[in-house]
Structure formats: structure tokens, C-alpha cells
């Protein structure tokens, strides 16, 4: 290898190092899902190499600007608004508000990434709109201010009654039943039995979750869609608790598919609750 070839190779390595180091800097600032990020960085690297042929690596890197600005540009260029993860999950407290709002969006899709955990939740706002209880643009600050506190208290009662009944049925079941049904196949009667305190445990968990959500909805002054989502999902949890309690206590022979009916009733009940709360504000909103 001649001296000229060696110095050329060194030059190329230096150029590649400059480009790699710039791409690493951009990567450190880049906020994109993995697939888009890799594509964006690969395109950036190819673009820099092409520019380096004309301008030299140093000038090319200089022309592309600060790494943070390049990352910002790439983030907006490569963000795919239609990207839907195969199985969405969310546990970050920062995303809770946004997810709760999405679950109470009358103009949104039917199913949205779950507020907490993995999977999808029903968009209660969409359901309430579909059954005529909510308009597209009802959830605004004026309506929020016009909702009387009594409406929130009634919402709390509407969640507490099924939750309380569920707890009472569970308590009577634990006291009276030697064994309770704990699992149903979709189309047949219960196929597994357990001690009643184990079988009724999910009832108490659902009831407690429902109550907790309702308490936060009524007394925490978050924005309207978040409060409604809390009240709505609290109501669903409470009705599911009651349905599960009644089934466990008295309907061991009923098919497991009955839980789907309970879920539908719970969802419609929650939509009605949300619609009633919003309507109480809409009828009081200051009209010009």
C-alpha cells in the first residue's frame, strides 16, 4: 500500500468518524419510536455521506446545523401520525391525563390505548355521543364551570350504590357459601370452584377501584374530560363488581358469556352518567 493510499484511507476514516459522531449526537436528542428512529438516522447518515462527497465531512456536518435542531426536524419529518403500536401500554404518570382525555373524546375513535396498563379502553365519550348523550364539542371550560357540585355528588352516589351492593352481596356470599364459583367458560356454567373469600376477591377489588375513581372524580379539580373519564370508568368498575357479585352468589349455572352483557350494561350506564353530568352543565351554561 502506497503512502498516498494510506493517507486517503485515513482521510476517509476521519470523515466517517465525524459523520458517525454527528449522527450519535442527533440520536441522543431524537425522540421517535425505534423503527422510525432507525430509518431517520440511516437516511441522515446517507445524506451526510452524499454531502461529504461534495463538501467534505466537516462542511457537510456544519451545513446540517446543530444536532438538536436536526433531531427536532427529523422528529417532525419521520413521526408517523398513523403509527399504532400492536399492543399499546402506558404506565407513565405523565401520559395519564392525555390517555384519560382520549378515553372521553366524543370526536375520537371507539377504542383508545388503555389509560393505565396494556391494551385498549372503550372511548366513553364516543359511546355517549353515539347514543345522543353528548355533542361533539360539549366538553369545554364553560360547561365545566357550569356543572353544579351536586351533579358530581350524584355521580359519586351513582357509583357508590352498585359498589356498596356488590360489597354487601360478597359479604353475604362469604358468610353463607362453603364454596363459590370462580371461573366460567364462555358458553357453559361455572367449571371451577374456590373458597368464597377467594371467589369474591375480584368483586371487592372492582368495587374499591370504582369507589376510588369516583372519589377522585368528584373532589379533584382536574379538567372536565379527565374527571368524566374517572367517573365513567369508576361506574364501569362498580357495575362490573355488582354483576360479578350477583353471578358468583346466585348464578353459577349461567353461562360465562353473561359477563359480556354485564359489560355492555356497565358501559351504557357509564355513558349515561357522563351524559347526565355534562347535560347538567350544558343547561346551566351562560347563554348569550
Amino acid at each position: 500500500m502506497t503512502g498516498h493510499e494510506t493517507s486517503e484511507r485515513r482521510g476517509r476514516m476521519h470523515q466517517n468518524n465525524l459523520i458517525d459522531s454527528y449522527v450519535d449526537d442527533v440520536d441522543a436528542h431524537l425522540r421517535l419510536p425505534r423503527r422510525s428512529r432507525l430509518q431517520a438516522l440511516a437516511d441522515l447518515r446517507a445524506g451526510l455521506r452524499a454531502a461529504a462527497l461534495d463538501l467534505g465531512a466537516e462542511e457537510a456536518v456544519h451545513t446540517f446545523g446543530p444536532a438538536a435542531s436536526t433531531a427536532e426536524r427529523l422528529a417532525s419529518e419521520y413521526a408517523d401520525p398513523f403509527h399504532r403500536p400492536w399492543l399499546p401500554f402506558g404506565l407513565s404518570p405523565r401520559s395519564l391525563g392525555a390517555r384519560a382525555r382520549a378515553a372521553m373524546d366524543p370526536a375520537g375513535p371507539w377504542f383508545v390505548p388503555r389509560v393505565v396498563g396494556i391494551g385498549w379502553d372503550l372511548n366513553l365519550g364516543r359511546l355517549a355521543r353515539a347514543v345522543g348523550l353528548l355533542g361533539f364539542d360539549d366538553l369545554d371550560d364553560e360547561v365545566a364551570r357550569a356543572i353544579p357540585h351536586d351533579a358530581w355528588r350524584w355521580a359519586f352516589v351513582a357509583v357508590s350504590v352498585p359498589a356498596g351492593l356488590a360489597a354487601a352481596v360478597a359479604a353475604s356470599g362469604v358468610a353463607a357459601m362453603p364454596l363459590a364459583p370462580a371461573h366460567w367458560p364462555l358458553l357453559g356454567p361455572a367449571d371451577r370452584w374456590a373458597p368464597p373469600d377467594v371467589a369474591f376477591a375480584p368483586v371487592l377489588v372492582f368495587a374499591a377501584v370504582g369507589e376510588a375513581l369516583a372519589v377522585v372524580a368528584v373532589w379533584r379539580h382536574a379538567d372536565l374530560p379527565v374527571r368524566l373519564a374517572l367517573a365513567g370508568f369508576g361506574s364501569i368498575a362498580a357495575v362490573l363488581a355488582l354483576g360479578t357479585a350477583v353471578t358468583t352468589r346466585w348464578l353459577a349455572r349461567a353461562p360465562g358469556g353473561l359477563s359480556l352483557a354485564t359489560l355492555s350494561v356497565a358501559a351504557l350506564g357509564a355513558a349515561s352518567l357522563v351524559g347526565a353530568v355534562v347535560r347538567s352543565g350544558r343547561t346551566r351554561v351562560r347563554v348569550r
Binding site: P81, R282, T283
Partner: protein, 118 residues
């Protein structure tokens, strides 16, 4: 391809909504009707209301509730002062974009001829 076209329309929709409100305040369904009558925009309630919500949150439109002759009160939207300014800037940017794109699309593909005036 469908996604790209949706993206193109989405960018135009905000300007279209602001422009409709320039003529005076309107309620949501009215805005949807006007936009839905323009097939190129392919706008439906599910796309227009989120835009209205965004514009409201960024204080580009103000809202007020008014009695309706046919049922519950309606929410009316009107341009705020910031909205008027934004609309003017959008219009300028849009016209520049259209002019540039017309120039690019009309050229036979030779980069040197793009932007040349006859």
C-alpha cells in the same frame, strides 16, 4: 398513499376552518357542513371538531353558547384577535406554497427550469 393525502388535507383543514370563521361566527355543525360540501377536503365531523378544539386551546378562536331555535344551546366559534393574525400569516404562507408547488409541478422535471418565469 391514502395516508399521504390525508396528511395533505389535514394541513389545509386548519386554514380552511380559520378562513370560514373570517366571515363571522358559526356553530360547529355549520362549519362541518361548509367543509363537507367541498369534496377535495374530505372533511367530516370527526376531523373538524378536533381542529376546532385545538384552535380553541391555542386561543385562535373564542367560543360562546347561544340559544338554538331547535333544541339545546349551541356553541359558536369566532376568530380571536390572535386568530385573525394567524389567518393572515397562514394565507401568505399558503399562497407562497401554492405558487412554489405550481412552479415545481408545471416544470418538465429539469431542476434548472423550476422557478424560471416565462
Amino acid at each position: 398513499m391514502e395516508d399521504r393525502q390525508t396528511q395533505l388535507r389535514k394541513g389545509a383543514l386548519e386554514l380552511a376552518v380559520l378562513a370560514i370563521l373570517r366571515g363571522g361566527e358559526r356553530y360547529g355543525a355549520e362549519i362541518v357542513d361548509v367543509l363537507a360540501s367541498l369534496p377535495g377536503l374530505d372533511a367530516a365531523a370527526g376531523t373538524v371538531y378536533p381542529v376546532l378544539g385545538r384552535l380553541n386551546r391555542s386561543k385562535l378562536v373564542d367560543t360562546s353558547w347561544r340559544e338554538s331555535p331547535y333544541g339545546p344551546p349551541r356553541k359558536y366559534y369566532r376568530l380571536s384577535r390572535a386568530g385573525h393574525g394567524q389567518l393572515e400569516r397562514h394565507i401568505v404562507a399558503w399562497r407562497q406554497l401554492v405558487q412554489a408547488m405550481e412552479s415545481v409541478l408545471a416544470s418538465p422535471g429539469d431542476a434548472d427550469t423550476v422557478g424560471e418565469r416565462p
